[in-house]
Assembly symmetry: C2
Homo-oligomer: 446 residues x 2
């Protein structure tokens, strides 16, 4: 692909302020690529780039930019020009952009927009972040169910350019009530006298406007849907298309990975996040875990005499304690991800826990074998035995903590992903300290 | 939705072997839901369920099952019946199923299949796992570019039922060379005399048959594509549709999350994986990390005198060492995920590292404040000062390790995700031990 070559030339042309060349080069790239170029240019140059692109493509490119990039690239734009651009964006991207603006800019923009666009925008903007309502588009193809295939095709030709997709047609009755869907494929394969009502599927998967966006993405992926209808009462108010579902799924996976490491939700990616935001989203759990780790310290203090008598025991402390934390984090991650993808459900709990005991025992024995070799050479048979026994027990206990914690959190109505690796590690650590020194005290006869 | 009610009744009907009722209930569910029911039934009942469903739906349901469930549900099926079923599966799902079979069953099945299906299957089956070739389907709509819109529509009506999607039409020349794509929307909006060649986009995003599947998924998501053409030389050999891209993206996210916790690739989800597989995919890194953690132990042994003189220092060891590991794991996760989604690129390295110094310093100072309160009460001003100073340094060093490691691995041609939380934690731990006791030895004047 020649993208990288064109992108490099475009970068140079922007630097040289050669707008004629920028125009030529930009015409070679599609909106997603133009936005990619924009990710690595300062806002002022992105504004120039947008200016060099025809209106429809400009609107599509703006839609592909990150929220903060959108704001920066349009900050200096006169309101009449901005209104024209925003009017050409797709309905769902328009409302996302609109929500980023400050109140004053929102008001001036609204006044400059064509009335139909404004009404649509205000209707979409009232939905809460992270719901189906917030990611849906109002530009869908609704056709009365009594229409014939021929008449439906006419309507598609007439209005097809303005909607997000024509590949799903939504059937309504005369009062606007949603009845069912017909795919364009079915329409094309049917004979032209057929009524849509005859072709229509009435058993439709749908969601309400308040359905969480991750549920929307999950349904689209599970049923291989092109678009998912969003209902308010019996009326169809919007659709969410598969491409938005992909974005949501990626966003949610990122959020889950971050959560798994006790990092809060960061807006707009690592590259564009502010230092303060990065600090804030990491600090809370880190400080909480400092206090959680006091328990490990307290455990150590409790066994101070044992440690003083056998200072060699401390050599094995990090190794044992970390092993429990690692095995536990693995178990928690397997469980949390399994629950997120729908692979694991609450009723599988007991069976999975039983299996984990066996797996963890196997892991613990293998690791005990590894560590006892080190133990014998380093500290003699007696301590090696203590270390090996501790390893088995610590790995089993750590794994069970990692497996149980997500379920408990889920029961309490929390997100199971709160059972992050650092949290599991802290709990497993404290248990590890107790197990190790308790066994040592018992075996070494203190 | 009534899915859960129907599913519960279906479960009961299967238990009672009431096939008439199973048939009625199954007709209410779509293939994705039937497969969902199958996830929680033993194979023999799933076979009965499949038997009660019409052929087309049976094939689609089989496609939605997990690989191991597919095998189990069809294990006892006579080969003629299996061939009929397999012939009705979509081309890409058919080849996935076929690859699971043992050699002998593959051969008998091939003999029973219609020749065109067999040839197609063998052609698709030769591609390596995890490539575009392995996930593509050969059932796409290719139409000569010189056709008029009217003639193209005729062709679509004639052959549209047999292809994966008709919403993208692939234009070829008389010798079968791939020229470009036209969307069905463009065809419908155009006048009937237009030639496809006039409507066609020639600047098409495409991949080769060996392109890794995660790259395929990334392109489909980035360009909001419905389907991505797969070329071999100048010939179009298949397409990958958005729904397969969604599955790949989910699979890859799961793999990355597991890798982030040093877990290898597990086939078919936590619920259906074998105990041995779960053990094998976790044990290698756990054992390696046991040995890695010996460095922490060695660090402790080196400072044995310091510890014996100030045994109170050990109280703060887990807390300090874990803090470095936690901050480092956070940094590594942010970086690895940023690289996987394309948010972060190699050239951003220096800037992100610079930012991380500030963020980590802020985190370290906050955590030092928290721990020094504990320190003063527990062990007096002097040790509290040692602990606080260590905390700042440990958190900064841990964070930088977490940030740098993925880049180094990437440079070496490894997957950056190998910079897992457990690995980062082990390295940060060893650094933490050294920093802590070195500061203690210096400040406490030993």
């Amino acid at each position: 692909m020649s993208y990288s070559i064109i992108a490099a030339e475009l970068h140079k042309a922007l630097q040289d302020q050669d707008t004629a060349l920028v125009e030529t080069l930009a015409s070679e790239l599609n909106p997603a690529d133009l936005a990619q170029v924009g990710h690595h240019e300062p806002a002022s140059r992105m504004a120039v780039l947008l200016h060099c692109v025809p209106l429809d493509k400009r609107a599509a490119t703006l839609g592909f930019l990150e929220p903060q990039e959108q704001l920066a690239a349009t900050a200096g734009m006169p309101v009449s020009e901005l209104a024209e651009l925003v009017a050409h964006m797709s309905a769902d991207e328009r409302v996302d952009y609109f929500k980023q603006l400050d109140r004053e800019r929102q008001q001036t923009l609204l006044k400059a927009l064509p009335p139909t666009v404004r009404d649509d925008l205000l209707k979409l903007a009232r939905h809460a972040e992270g719901t189906a309502g917030a990611i849906m588009t109002s530009a869908f193809m609704a056709i009365p169910a009594y229409y014939s295939v021929a008449r439906a095709m006419q309507t598609l030709r007439l209005k097809g350019a303005d909607v997000e997709t024509i590949y799903q047609v939504y059937c309504i009755d005369t009062s606007g009530r949603f009845l069912g869907t017909v795919s364009l494929r079915e329409i094309i394969l049917a004979s032209s006298e057929n009524q849509l009502a005859e072709l229509m599927t009435e058993e439709v998967i749908w969601v309400g406007i308040d359905t969480p966006q991750e549920e929307v993405a999950r349904l689209i992926a599970r049923y291989d849907l092109l678009a998912l209808p969003v209902l308010e009462g019996e009326r169809l108010v919007g659709i969410v298309t598969y491409d938005d579902a992909m974005d949501v799924a990626e966003e949610e996976a990122t959020e889950d990975m971050h959560k798994g490491m006790s990092i809060g939700k960061i807006e707009g990616g690592l590259r564009s996040a502010s230092l303060l935001d990065l600090y804030r989203k990491r600090v809370m759990w880190l400080v909480l875990l400092v206090f959680a780790n006091i328990f490990s310290g307290a455990g150590i203090a409790y066994f101070e005499e044992t440690i003083e008598a056998y200072i060699a025991l401390v050599f094995f402390l990090p190794l044992l304690v970390d092993s429990g934390g690692n095995a536990g984090s693995q178990a928690a991650t397997l469980m949390v991800r399994g629950m997120a993808t729908g692979d694991v459900r609450s009723r599988d709990w007991a069976r999975l826990l039983g299996r984990e005991v066996f797996v963890a025992a196997g892991l613990g024995l293998t690791m005990a074998l590894a560590v006892s070799v080190v133990g014998i050479f380093r500290a003699g048979t007696e301590i090696a035995m203590v270390v090996a026994m501790s390893m088995v027990l610590i790995v089993i206990v750590g794994s069970l903590i990692g497996m149980i914690l997500p379920f408990i959190l889920n029961r309490l109505g929390w997100d199971p992903a709160t059972a992050s690796a650092p949290l599991v590690t802290s709990i497993a650590d404290a248990s590890g300290v107790l197990i190790y020194f308790a066994i040592a005290t018992a075996v070494l006869g203190l």
